[in-house]
Amino acid sequence: MNTILDVKKLTIDFKTENGTVKAVENINFNIKKKEIFALVGESGCGKSTIAFSLMRLLAKNGMITDGSINFNGKDVLKMSKQEMFAFRGTEIGMIFQNPLDSLNPVMSVGNQVSESLLLDNISKEKAWEEVIKIFEDVKISDPKERFESYPFELSGGMRQRVMISMMISRKPLLLIADEPTTALDVTIQAQILKVIRRLKDDFNTSVLLITHDFGVVAETADRVGVMYAGNLVEMGNLSDIFKKSLHPYTKLLMKALPTISKKEGRLVNIPGMVPNLINPPSGCRFANRCPSAIDICTKVSPTLKEYSDEHYCACHLLEV
């Protein structure tokens, strides 16, 4: 079987004192072996929410109200607490934007990475060797010295490499990376993305990359899912999204990205604002900003359909 993650009809709500936020609606996507799948969208689109739901780590007021998450043949939503504990960190790993928040400040980074290895009942020496090897694989310089370093002694890029080491030490099938390079400088970002790119071939680890940056997508992803206001509006490979985009939102976003000089033209404005997800509008959530919206757009929510080999789009205009 080639698919390791299969998400169907995923719908997530959050209860707040102002009402119920319909954060994520009817999400359908899958991730295959040895693949980097990027979930891209602007803030509030729900991409991080989906990532947390895959590990069942939603905030207390979050509920998965519909849909299924199937990981490597297992139904994630039906797992018991013990099963989830065993599941997290071994088959699925996650790294975040700010590694300093995820690392224990009073423990050397080498020991932190060995901690998870020692759960497999191997000797301390063997664990040390493994950690040094992983450090070398993610190109941490002077791995033996770095083993003894504390997180505060390391730069942002180094910390992120340590996080990646920690996560891949158990050889997970999937690594979720939530904005892993947003807080890093450009040259360091390039280095980290290189490490992430190699994960699928060198470690057999697929990656779910959450980002708002299309440049990062271009640098790493095999396939892309574009999200808007809690909906997955388009999905395909890089060529589909960048060159042959079908959804009006994707098309506008491509033109809003700075890839030219001001003499060559102006970036396109997407007028209006993201709708309030407590009372989302009926029909397509992008309709009020869409330059080509037609009558049915405000009445019926479009569903994701396949238009060419693995290129999906949820838009009524394509049906007309």
Binding site: E42, S43, S141, S155, G157, M158, D185, V186, T187, I188, Q189, A190, Q191, L193, R197, H212, D213, F214, G215, V216, A218, E219, T220, L238, S239, F242, K243, L252, L253, M254, A256, L257, P258, T259, I260, S261, K262, R266, L267, V268, N269, I270, M273
Partner: protein
């Protein structure tokens, strides 16, 4: 060619950190180390660099948010370190800044209208003109007049940044520094803000110093681009020149590391620098990049490179700029 509005002459800004009680040795963070360039009237100079490059320190120095030596910064021909009285007032009125985090750049306890009014009050505008001016400026930045009575916390990031921009232009200044104004904003909002800034520049005849780490944005908005690393200026020149023909190894590495939205982004050949961004405390005596540069030789470690003009207005600070072959280290 327009005249120079801002001139930086060998600008240095060091911060001292005292170490030890016994030896009392003083170490310096050389946040800005001998930087010289000019900003002409009505042009946009983009300043790029990573953490520790000194670009924010430079910006703060230009606006007198920190002290600097005399004769390092000239505004409109005058040394800003000696300004007093009306000259100082004029300087403040003619310069302004837009910050990276729009939310914390606005007083959370005041309404938008009150924030904008404060600027007018400080310069003693007649009270009966204030409301009209505020209305005009709100419309100029595409905010409805009803935004005037709201508090910053009730606005989105993009709207807050528009207010910050409104505040920066309400006194009709000549020069505005924009310090990563769109870094905290979404892509669609970013486009709106960048376009607004371009429109305002045309309408009001503004001069911009645009600081960013994003090479695509800086290329879109700038006439000239300057590249900084660890407090030093590495290269400066016309935007398209820098973008298409970066000649300093640092600039080249920066360009090649920058994610581009294209199908061959993953597989393109890149010139990379080894190691991490250096510390600002122990910077090398010579070229700031000497410890990481594959082309570095002894002279690079010991002597600060002089400026070489490689094409019209395109200057590079590198000893070997004309001999470097990037292909040797491109993978």
């Amino acid at each position: 060619m327009q005249r120079n509005l801002v001139e930086l002459r060998n600008l240095k800004k060091y911060f001292s950190i005292k170490k030890g009680i016994i030896n009392k040795s003083v170490k310096y963070i050389k946040a800005v180390d001998d930087v010289s360039f000019n900003i002409r009237e009505k042009e946009t100079v983009g300043l790029v660099g990573e953490s520790g490059s000194g670009k924010s320190t430079l910006a703060r120095a230009i606006l007198k948010l920190s002290d600097i030596k005399s004769d390092s910064i000239l505004f409109d021909g005058k040394d800003i370190s000696t300004l007093t009285g009306n000259d100082l007032k004029n300087f403040k009125k003619n310069t302004n800044m837009v910050f990276q985090d729009p939310a914390s750049s606005l007083n959370p306890r005041k309404t938008i209208r009150q924030i904008l009014r404060r600027s007018l009050e400080v310069y003693k505008y007649p009270k009966n003109t204030m409301n009209k001016l505020i209305d005009e400026i709100l419309l100029k930045v595409d905010l409805g007049l009803d935004f005037g009575d709201r508090y910053p916390g009730q606005l989105s990031g993009g709207q807050q940044q528009r207010v910050a921009i409104a505040r920066s232009i309400i006194l009709k200044p000549k020069f505005i520094i924009l310090d990563e104004p769109t870094s905290a904003l979404d892509i669609s909002v970013q486009a709106q803000i960048l376009n607004l800034l371009l429109d305002l520049q045309e309408q009001e005849g503004l001069t911009y110093l645009f600081i960013t780490h994003d090479l695509n944005i800086v290329r879109y908005i700038s006439d000239r681009i300057g590249v900084m690393y660890l407090g030093g200026l590495m290269e400066i020149g016309p935007a398209e020149d820098i973008y298409h023909n970066p000649r300093h190894p640092y600039t080249r590495a920066l360009m090649d590391s920058s994610p581009i939205i294209s199908l061959d982004s993953k597989t393109r050949k890149r010139f990379e620098l080894g190691g991490e961004i250096g510390s600002m405390i122990n910077t090398p005596k010579g070229c700031k990049l000497s410890r990481r540069c594959p082309f570095a030789e002894e002279i690079c470690t010991n002597k600060i490179p002089k400026m070489t003009e490689i094409s019209k207005e395109h200057y590079v600070f590198c000893h070997f700029v004309n001999e470097i072959d990037f292909d040797l280290y491109t993978d």
